[in-house]
Amino acid sequence: MDFDFSPVTDNWRYLATGLGITLLLSILTVVCSLIAGTLIALGRMYGPTWLQKILTFYIDSQRAIPVLVVLVWIYFALPVLTGVNFPPFWAALLALTLHISAYVAEIVRAGISSVRNGQTQAGLVLGMSPRQVLTKIILPQAIIRMLPSIGSIISITIKDTAIAAVIAVPELMKRAETVSGQTFRPMEVFTTIMVVYFLVLFPTTRLIDRLYDRVSYRGRS
């Protein structure tokens, strides 16, 4: 068996911009999902009953549908229904956010519930409003407690972006397929991007774990 990594080295710029798109899609998805997931969790916990029901159904449905199905549905089915066409990148961002937000919402809900009631009371007896108690006392502690789970969400998100290849978003996976198809060197190309994913993800999750070790005492009441 002979190894030839020249397809990778010859196309490194092409693959690197693919990685850039992977990272951009990941960062946007994570940011949007954290914001949306938090709002969903708050709506589910404190909103009116009808909203709680809708959001619970939404969360359950996202947990029951593969993200790949959500993606192809938004890209191929939604335009048929609504006449609105999303460019591939935005369709991927929407699908991933829709999916990941549901998981974030569950993490946020668990984080908020884990802060014990005495903390709420300590805020209330200072004369704070429930909203002030939530934003100044409960959420900051919940976020610290959620860090390890958010670390998992970030790594799952980065990995999930690879499915955007099926709707031809020019991210790392898609470009690797292209290079591999043109050069007939799947072993070298896919081994390389496997290593690249690992090199991106491993330090990221480690960094978040370290951050958590440093600040976890600030979330422990």
């Binding site: 009371q121 209330l124 007896v125 200072l126 004369g127 704070m128 005492y217 979330g219 009441s221």
Partner: protein, 261 residues
């Protein structure tokens, strides 16, 4: 408005409006009666200690005072006015009462200084400079000047409870409510918290203290209320309660604790 009964004779500020007055207060949890017609008053500058067996309703009464628990019957007066029912008004009342919990409940994500300033900053809307200055004075008062920038996790239980007292005092309350402030502490740090409370009492702070520290109640209380099964068994000055209790149940409770004068 409130009549001075014979029983109140000789109490501190007995003839002026009480800071807190409970009139026939009732509280139900489902079928369970936690407070069964409790009447008592807390005069200005007085230290009132609530004692009694576990589950007798001491915490419940304390928590009705600042509407953490809503009463099901009777009336509750703060500074001569019935406790309001609107949420905004209750918040105003809570700003004028400090509360200290058995489990401290410091905010773990805030430094000691921030724990003390958060109330005045978010609720009273004073400037950061003023809040910090106020906090430093209070830290000195509780003997923790050097801990201002620490996080609660790095303090001993006794230190945390002293910060919690400073946090409550930062709102400049008219009355301080303590719910077993030393019950969660190691024996060696109980004294430092009780000393802070004693000094507060000496400065004239009105205090309601639920406690199992009988020697503290004997020494510091102006008035002692004995609870059992949601009712007041007996109330009176510490000399009466501890040295010459009139009720058997008071005597039984005290002897259970090993109190012998």
């Amino acid at each position: 408005m409130s009549n001075v009964t014979e029983a109140d004779f000789g109490r501190k500020n007995a003839s002026s409006t009480p800071v807190v007055e409970y009139r026939d207060v009732r509280k139900q949890y489902g079928n369970f009666t936690a407070l069964d017609g409790v009447s008592a008053r807390v005069n200005r500058g007085e230290v009132l200690c609530l004692i009694g067996p576990s589950g007798s309703g001491k915490s419940t009464l304390l928590r009705t005072t600042n509407a953490l628990e809503v009463i099901d019957g009777g009336q509750l007066y703060f500074d001569g006015h019935p406790l309001p029912s609107s949420k905004a008004e209750i918040r105003k009342v809570r700003q004028r009462m400090g509360m200290v919990f058995q489990s401290f409940e410091l905010f773990p994500h805030k430094t000691v200084l921030e724990n003390i300033t958060i109330g005045p900053l978010t609720v009273l809307g004073i400037s950061e400079a003023e809040a910090n200055a106020r906090a430093r004075v209070l830290l000195e008062k509780v003997g923790l000047t050097d801990k201002a920038d620490r996080y609660p996790a790095n303090l001993s239980g006794g230190q945390q409870q002293r910060v919690a007292i400073a946090r409550a005092l930062a709102m400049e309350p008219e009355v301080m409510l303590f719910d077993e402030p030393t019950s969660a502490l190691d024996p060696e740090t109980i004294g430092e918290v009780l000393n802070v409370m004693k000094r507060l009492a000496d400065e004239g702070m009105t205090m309601v203290v639920v406690t199992h520290e009988m020697s503290f109640a004997r020494r510091v209380a102006d008035w002692v209320v004995v609870f059992d099964h949601g009712k007041i068994v007996e109330q009176g000055p510490p000399a009466q309660i501890f040295d010459a209790p009139r009720e058997d149940r008071t005597r039984n409770f005290l002897s259970h604790l090993g109190w012998n004068g």
